[in-house]
Subunit: 339 residues, 4 copies
């Protein structure tokens, strides 16, 4: 880190900062400029609280230099990570899988029908919520373990791997038992106990970006899972919260090349939550593939007008089929494949 | 809710929307305007998914009318709620308490000394983290139950009530055993399982606003606790995430009068996280009191330069004492009291 | 608009609202629901100030229904507008032009060389700033009319049309004389006098989105130009201001399909300002084409390390050439063309 | 500035960066850390484009150290600036003036009546728009010079100084002729030609913060006026654009102490635009005074339900009178005065 002194800082204040740095077990390197002095800190300061220096007299601000994640960093591992979900779906390689399905599991019949329709349309895995995080306490909260069994039935009926959300540490084992991939939702992206619990089980984890998370914070969240020994983490941009009002969230596609630049982990895009409107999903899905995304997760419901949740952003299986046909073409244009 | 049709919507599409509304068990009321048609929905639509209508053909958008919380609403309960923390601290009445203490419990000696110094300076309760939510997985995570015992020792030494954070449902009972008030942090503000668990224990709950939460979402989060039977909820604005870079967060003080307008629950302000810089805390604390806040929660450390966490935003006990002296004057100016 | 009354509103207050609506020359249509009353307003309320109703006793809020722009609206004109820039560049048709060039005109030699290199690389028009809006008053402000002459020389040397920014109404005539298309920058997107002046001259206008503008506000800004009689307006998304810190702005690509949904005007993307980093430009340019953009405007400098301004986000002509080669493939995949 | 190299940067790349720095007329100072190398730049780099270095091979990012404004900086002038508006209103001293009046000048009778009522209520200057910046091109645009004459009549009738907005450089002289203080609105806060024109006339300038402007950018905008020789600049926070939906803007009161920390210029607050709802104005006005604001500018209309513009956020003169009575008490509590 770099400690920037105020222009009117005294020599005594600079010396005090130097002492604090040494107390932290680090080396100081002061640089006297024409207008002010800065003190560079040498050593691994990632576990140190820079607040200690920020509050010291004469200090204007402290600028961090080292990134606060390690295992997720591309500097630690240059080759890209490929994460396998079930037997037939890989994220991070040349092929770009599409994970599709309804927001909620509404019954075995519905989820099996949805899975079959998604497979027919060309999807590579299915999604569906058994445990639902709902902003409104009076809204449908999901079927829980029964929902997981219905998802397993859908897998049995189609051969498609199952991705489903886990909400709390005590549910991790049961979700891990039924699902092929655990999803951590945007509202739990800094639920550190949940991240740790997901790091301590064998299934891959799809980590959604928090709606007001920077990419640095997202990589730190992934580090909680990685540090637990589970290296199969997929990062997923799903829209951030901004002032925009034409979409439910602002889908920030530049997260794809930037996360690829900083990390070896694969990056997916969720254009359904990222926009909130089914009519915007196809264009944004194509844009995601063109931007280099390693996969897509899309809400599809056999009958959106009767979906229990998220009907506005759910596509029909027929429109998914049309979308996948065009995704194949865009993927080829950027030397990838949707098969 | 109001369903706004596109200007080119057909009569058939309007009729289809009317049918969908009736299927949902609600009544439709179409209004044909000079430029377009809207269909008003009559009945309690709070548990219905408006996405079902948003996706229907010819629909431009759906505008919700009813607020999605009930128990938290001022329309349900006109008189203001007063929440008691321990024997001597009440939030929501004429008196405005100041809860002060370090970010982290760093040891029994430190927390007892901090509590004594805060009491001396005029604080009415103490805060300190035993379970720490850390963005960086390599940073100090708190002492856990040992930290809770140290907080209890600080209470024994001073008579001040203890407010401390709980991170995950399985810790709720242990934190509830030691603390006088459970705090739910910004990153857990939509951890619905944790909200539910806090609704199912007897201690009051201090609910921090999520950093990208609207006030409507915050009241829905409080509703999870209230619906569980625990009506002692304190709302706390602690800064939201915006583009501003001179503060760690943007402290949105208009949340105070607006939450008072919408709800009977008391509203506190955290000027420490709300700014991230100790030098901005006093002015914002005074502003909070002038805006009508029912309490303050402030980070104070006996030696900020050696704080393990959040040193930059921690005041010293001496500056807390000076601040409380001026808060007394501002409180009187708005017919409140800091005693 | 819809006036939502408070749940405790009296009949007298509802009647007062009805009177205010009639005073405004509009018709009222009250709807008594199970929980509250709303009053729908019938008639063209676009020129009315809804604040008059919002402040009335018993009113909770007022929800606008009609969009506040007309000429820009797709409901006014269903077929897409094609805007011609010079003789050889059209925006809004099947072909997707790439406008390229340096941030600033740094001299005749530089801009002519840049134009030649951009043409060689496959660009369809050139950009370059003669009048520069600079956040920092001590930074280079552009060559003014001399810069316009240098741009004209670059056009003469290459046959490429010239797009350049105009900063203030009194410069509109001179810029209009030299340029083929006038650009209005993000900081002037609500400089209404400038918008009006651009509506009163014959050259097409490239209107950049303000960095905190909603799409509705952007279409209202375009309406200023359109209402002056100039129907050749190109809308350009160039990134919005959010909390994100890995890019200079957050490029919101969903603006493309949404603007196409609301308006008949063509939509371009500026991936250079939209990211601020040359290394992110190619992926976002490809994503823009896949999302349906009608054109791209990209910063290219023959020697970015010696660019006077915006070096970090400028591509080299060689990398532009490679980008255009891949854009051709992506365009074909979505049934468009880069020729 | 500090150039942060990538961890895998080569010695050659570091040397190239050093050369670029020397080419810019600055000195380089490399620091080899345990994980990466940074190159500190020594000298006044405020007029240099750091993009040149950001794009160089092996560079991860460039961190600016020096602030890009000078005359506005508190380091240039330690004592606080007091700006006089007319004969009887000073901003920046012990007394805190309240500038009040309607959004628009709607006629001589209205503005004279409004001015008298505001004076009666205790206001120290009047505001009112003759030139109106309107998002909607079909909305009322103001009376122009006739409106200025009406404002002058209101001044004659009350002795109160007049603050009014100027929209474009060619109107600066005429507004400067009639007004006691020129206001630059949020949408023009980076209209650099307008800023320059206001720097070149003798009346004080009230500069509103742009709705997505950082404080650093705001001080740079003020520098445009100051650098022209006009040192009578008042900074005004009026709310920023965020995701919040309960207010028209998010009033960021921490701007007050932070601008006071960085600059000697006085700082006002506009709680009317800052919230958009008259019912929130009094609490936020009191909070502003408690936060250290040097003045307030408030929308007041004799009959808000018949205001032509901004009715929802306009107070009545009676409520202004009540507000000022409480402001006097809050001001005394923080050792200031409202007289």
């Amino acid at each position: 880190m770099i400690v920037v002194m105020r222009t009117d800082a005294t020599m005594e204040q600079v010396n005090h900062v130097k002492e604090l740095i040494r107390e932290m077990g680090l080396k100081d390197h002061p640089i006297v400029g024409t207008e002010l002095t800065v003190v560079a800190v040498i050593g691994d300061d990632r576990k140190k609280d820079r607040g200690r220096l920020e509050g010291a007299p004469g200090v204007d601000r402290v600028v961090p230099i080292l990134v606060p994640y390690k295992i997720a960093s591309r500097e630690t591992k240059r080759e890209r990570t490929v994460v396998r979900i079930g037997a037939n779906c890989a994220v991070g390689g040349k092929q770009i899988p599409v994970i599709a399905g309804p927001c909620s599991v509404e019954g075995e019949k519905q989820i099996v029908a949805a899975a079959k329709a998604c497979k027919e349309a060309g999807a590579h895995a299915i999604r569906g919520g058994a445990f639902k995080p709902r902003t409104n306490p009076y809204a449908f909260q999901g079927y829980g373990e029964d929902g997981l069994k219905m998802l397993a039935a859908a897998r049995d009926a189609t051969g498609l791997a199952v991705v489903t959300e886990v909400l709390t540490p005590s549910d991790v084992l049961i979700v891990s038992k039924y699902a092929d991939c655990l999803q951590i939702g945007t509202r739990n992206s800094q639920n550190f106990k949940l991240l740790e619990a997901c790091g301590d089980q064998p299934k891959p984890v799809l980590l959604k970006r928090g709606m007001s998370m920077t990419l640095g914070e997202m990589l730190q969240a992934s580090e909680y899972i990685l540090a637990g020994g589970n290296h199969n983490v997929i990062l997923c941009e799903r829209g951030i919260r901004t002032f925009e009002d034409h979409t439910r969230n602002t889908l920030s596609l530049s997260a794809v090349p930037e996360l690829h630049y900083r990390s070896h982990l694969p990056v997916m895009i969720d254009p359904s939550h990222g926009t909130g409107h089914a009519r915007l999903v196809p264009d944004m899905a194509r844009a995601a593939v063109a931007a280099g995304a390693d996969g897509l997760i899309v809400e599809v419901h056999p009958d959106p007008e009767h979906a229990w949740t998220d009907g506005a952003q759910s596509m029909t299986p027929a429109s998914l089929g049309e979308l996948i046909a065009t995704l194949k073409r865009v993927a080829l244009a950027v030397d990838r494949e949707v098969v």
